[in-house]
Symmetry: C2
Amino acid sequence: MLPRGRPRAMGAVVLLLLLLVVGFFLFGRDPEYGLGTTATLDEKPYGSRNRSASSSQLLLPSKCEVMLHVAIVCAGYNSSREIITLMKSLLFYRKNPLHLHLITDAIARNILETLFRTWMVPAVVVSFYDAEELKPLVSWIPNKHYSGLYGLMKLVLPSILPLSLARVIVLDTDVTFSSDIVELWALFDRFSDKQVVGLVENQSDWYLGNLWKNHRPWPALGRGFNTGVILLWLDRLQQTGWEQMWKLTAKRELHTLTATSLADQDIFNAVLKEHPNLVHPLPCVWNVQLSDHTLAERCYLEAADLKVIHWNSPKKLRVKNKHAEFFRNLHLTFLGYDGKLLRRELFGCPNQFPPGAEQLQQALAQLDEEEPCFEFRQQQLTVHRVHITFLPHQPPPPRPYDVTLVAQLSMDRLQMLEALCRHWPGPMSLALYLTDAEAQQFLHFVETSPVLSARKDVAYHVVYQDGPLYPVNQLRNVALAQALTPYVFLSDIDFLPAYSLYDYLRASIEQLELGSRRKAALVVPAFETLHYRFSFPNSKAELLTLLDAGSLYTFRYHEWPQGHLSTDYSRWREAQAPYRVQWSADYEPYVVVPRDCPRYDPRFVGFGWNKVAHIIELDAQEYEFLVLPEAFSIHLPHAPSLDISRFRSSSTYRNCLQALKEEFHQDLSRRYGSAALKYLTALQQSRSRA
Amino acid sequence: MLPRGRPRAMGAVVLLLLLLVVGFFLFGRDPEYGLGTTATLDEKPYGSRNRSASSSQLLLPSKCEVMLHVAIVCAGYNSSREIITLMKSLLFYRKNPLHLHLITDAIARNILETLFRTWMVPAVVVSFYDAEELKPLVSWIPNKHYSGLYGLMKLVLPSILPLSLARVIVLDTDVTFSSDIVELWALFDRFSDKQVVGLVENQSDWYLGNLWKNHRPWPALGRGFNTGVILLWLDRLQQTGWEQMWKLTAKRELHTLTATSLADQDIFNAVLKEHPNLVHPLPCVWNVQLSDHTLAERCYLEAADLKVIHWNSPKKLRVKNKHAEFFRNLHLTFLGYDGKLLRRELFGCPNQFPPGAEQLQQALAQLDEEEPCFEFRQQQLTVHRVHITFLPHQPPPPRPYDVTLVAQLSMDRLQMLEALCRHWPGPMSLALYLTDAEAQQFLHFVETSPVLSARKDVAYHVVYQDGPLYPVNQLRNVALAQALTPYVFLSDIDFLPAYSLYDYLRASIEQLELGSRRKAALVVPAFETLHYRFSFPNSKAELLTLLDAGSLYTFRYHEWPQGHLSTDYSRWREAQAPYRVQWSADYEPYVVVPRDCPRYDPRFVGFGWNKVAHIIELDAQEYEFLVLPEAFSIHLPHAPSLDISRFRSSSTYRNCLQALKEEFHQDLSRRYGSAALKYLTALQQSRSRA
């Protein structure tokens, strides 16, 4: 285990490497094996033993006026997930405006920009700094820590953060707050004039150098300090000549020590050993370090209150500890916490709203709660938090005819994923509609599935649940926007494609010269089985046999034949070449289109007409519909969704859907003029039939 | 709206009445209509304006030594639900041991005893007091408040709580904590020698008496005090002659005022008007009153920190308020909070564990995480929090042949409930496996469904989710234990019974003289349809026609015929009278049995063998299996569950199930001796076939 934490800035490759490596000795990372019992932490390190009001000596800054600055280095998919739990705990307790300074690689930036934009937390400003640009500043330092160069970047923060910034709190991504960060900020006031950095003592014996034979740690004051939580007095650091100072120290030590073991922490400690007047020791409760054989208990059993928990064991939540359950529960509180509840204002503080939030609130406030379609209106306006590429992902290499399967699902369809992976060997972009707690279950599900964890070309985008109606088209648009190949196969999660479909589609796209010459939507004919156990046909011939035997039907043959009428299944039986079909009312085939195709209309939430409207849009934009003679996909049985049940049982629901359709057609006429007339006519005919 | 809160001690009847009544004037309950603007709250009531550490003057009691006492009056189903959110917020922030004194009616006691027993929160003691016994003490007071007599019971707390108890905090059920209750407790230390009761000023103008013409409130000091949060110094109250005092005041005022409008609050205020030296005014942040036209903003905009939010509008979370979103988010935080995360110890405090918790923890700690069936072992040991009768419920009248449908479900089967209600007009006992957040969605689902909200004979028992495997038999046992009729129909949620089944079963039970003469399990033959839309047969004849047409099958005919082989469907086609069948391997019919039948074996978690084991148990206990000739129920299609998918795809899962089966058989042999041999033989035969 590690006596300190790091922003676990690992790309997928690094993670894989780590998992493959047996033990940590390879990295020289397990300082506490053979931990001696003679060395003891001070009896009362810095924790306050008595329960007099925890911050009794502090005058806390007033809530609105003081903007607190927090800097975090974050790189890769896993750290981007981890930082969110830290953020939720921080935001839960904070009462001041916050400015986050995030030093990120391209992956983390992409994820976190989307997340914060859609999260819309009042009184939070986020600035991004490109970690790539900082690499040359630290890459000369040999480093054995798994965080790679990213940990070392904490050393150069004083030079890259804005000059106007006097003070900043620096955090590792693996800490959890259980108190208001303003209390930590207030500790700056306890600094003497000379002190420039605030740190908690290291809660392990690593730096005592007696852990095993020939263990030679970097120099440190006693047990040294942990850099998972740092108070940096930036302007004083500049004045002190920090940059020169740490570089000199590092270079000197590197004459005798081959590399840093604990990255920036080694260098911080070496500098502070030399200049002990620079450090302000912080109370131990501000960085309770749960490494595997931590001595933290001596801190926390004495303390009235724990402020920040630091998961600085590579085992993270699985760390063995007498009080593990207690700490885990603190962490799980925020892991599963519904992040939208943090969209709460700070009382009496002006100008807190992030872009768009105020207009959105006004629009929501103008809705009439008594109106029968209120739920629909509210759902349409809802901005869902979006966490793109929730899991490590390897983008597909650029290939001119490649196609991504696009679909969306919620928790009750997870069991489809493995089968889908077996049927579709190509890239996928899937939107998942989950609660924060379900997102964790999903993570566990993927990690424990050999099939899913082997596939790095499937991108999972979590859209967080909010509201009673399933925002099907918003989900589709998220998945579609994240597809990285030139073509997309717009499918649904209950369908399994023919085993050959991925290859066949790429060949067809090439042959038909889609995109370059033709604006076309390739139709994949849809079938369904009603049986749970079902032997999937290996060819069109086998499929036709099953169809004739009554084991398969064309999709929704009994309930909604018009949805696929235009596909013309009898022609498809005989077809040897792609054939063009014309749009007809309620047509909703599964199609392959260029990635830049029109988006789905987000007004359709819940059940009904969500794909139909999209196909109309394609037709209105003059996409040809070409049915592929060898393509097919098969729908597996499932229970009716809650939304379809509500549609069937509630006339209000049906009336609201009708109203949406009409508004959609009005917009269509506005945009396409007389060309849209045929859709309106079709709608009116279907209404008069109904 | 109401200017104060009450424990909303309403049974279902009172709730219904309230819903039916148009407006609150009938109760004289809307004091703020016509609210004048002349009266103002003090500029700085008791909130501290500056953000100097909030409790800077307080020496907080040390965490272990001081047991905090909290008294709450709680009656009926809805208050029992409400109090849990209060408890979660209280437990989240507390760091001291708590002793809860709950004054409950029989309904609330039943619910809360089960809940706290299964919640197993360390360092919480719960004592119950029978509200029925207190009624005579306050029933002489005419009272127009919707809380009925329960509100008034706060007046007699000093006489009923143990004499050893010096001080207590009294709370209404509709408050939410956003801070540590120890800070409130510490305010006792600010009482002068004479002060006996601590209260927050009322944040409305009700007691000023200028709200409308002829508005005659009870006497009060200025705006009076709100009794949603009370600090009671019990021994001093006794010494002061509290009982005499409030009775005298109440009787005197009742000469001129016909009744209390705000129950105990009127009387508290009248007493304090007369004896102002008895009251210690508390800072307004300890009872931020969100009535509809509250003046609370004057408190909270000034305050650094809100401590307790009081939802004292009958609209509760739907109250209109500029900052409603902020307060709602605080409340929703705990509404959806996973209560099991509060099972966390208090550091360094001895003897905190509730009965059974320590043994359970030890058993869990002894499990080997590396063992392949670890997840199964862990799931079997898990004690789930159980909230019985989550919604208002009318127990069925005692009828000798009545039968309750027993089933269990999770969120993805909610859409079955309405159909089930249409098919089964009798009582039901349903266990729902939900997260805390889903329980709220479920509540919303029932409230917005006319079919479900009309049915008061359906009891819903929420079992809170914990762990990756569906604890199917634990759920069944919860539903079974709560069935209140002499017989139960043990069904599954995906089955719809014949429309006539409820009547037919009762008639059959009577005719067959079940229970008294025969120990029998009545078999209801099971069928299945593969179609989403399906016209349910009205009779056996219609069912047979559908069966012959291939629209229906006998249940799991394709996948698992042995499950219902013994039912002998061909005999059933022709049968005119009940016929006896013999057990055979893997038999798992749906049966009607006396309520005191054997429980399901909770070791079977996830998919597989959960019903089979129960039927073996019935057979071993010599229940006759009698197939009913006119009974049937039909399974509707749904997607395979996550558990069945895992069963199919994971050999470990299948091996673990096999291990469970073998352990079950060992236990069976131990209990039934050689009589259990036939089950073992059957198991061995099936294993050798596999």
